[in-house]
Symmetry: C2
């Protein structure tokens, strides 16, 4: 089985290989997938800029690929990485920091809470 | 921030709340998202059948929602669940069992390997 790019861009779930946390979801076309496999770093296709995007090329926050999985029907890619810095453009380790409280309100993770300190320690360990 | 359904269907990453494993990725429209929040079980929008899909309605493998997160730009949903059975239609706990070996070959997880035994134990614990 190969990734089925006949369906268009495929979502790639980026997971921290050390912690197992989901860091981000971005999209790959066939070229981005091939470059990811060849270079051992993540490449995506930016839907807003409509161009290939080498994660870390601007920020320095490259993601070193540890392993790659496909789902059962080949239309989602999962990449386990060692991140060289935050995955999120906000500076957070993971893009998934908005918690839905179920009452229409979102509870943003508090800065300098225990989870942020943990994030900082993990980032230190990985660099 | 709310999920931005103006971009169309949004991918939902389903994570096992106990193990942290990514179980599957499916898609939600606004109705599926609302039903997920209201019922505490996962609902998706099936792209192939073009209809709402209550996960587990046919198989019995419902997913009990533990928490919901949005990513930084509100176009990906992450749902942590307690699964009542396998997420995958193949009977595996997770849909991501094809490992890309980097040589063009896929290495399917061996049946009855240690990971399958672990899967079975986890499923027993959760039910």
């Amino acid at each position: 089985m190969k990734p089925d790019f006949s369906k268009g861009l495929l979502p790639a779930v980026i997971v921290d290989d050390l912690t197992g946390d989901v860091l981000m979801v971005a999209y790959m076309n066939e070229t981005a997938y091939q470059k990811t496999m060849e270079t051992g770093q993540t490449w995506f296709y930016s839907r807003s800029r409509q161009e290939l995007w080498h994660k870390g090329a601007t920020s320095g926050n490259y993601q070193s690929v540890q392993s790659v999985f496909l789902d059962c029907d080949g239309d989602t890619i999962l990449v386990r990485v060692n991140p060289k810095g935050p995955a999120c453009h906000t500076g957070k380790r993971s893009c998934f920091f908005y918690k839905e409280t179920g009452e229409g309100k979102k509870e943003e993770q508090k800065e300098n809470g225990i989870e942020d300190i943990f994030d900082q320690v993990i980032t230190e360990i990985q660099n």
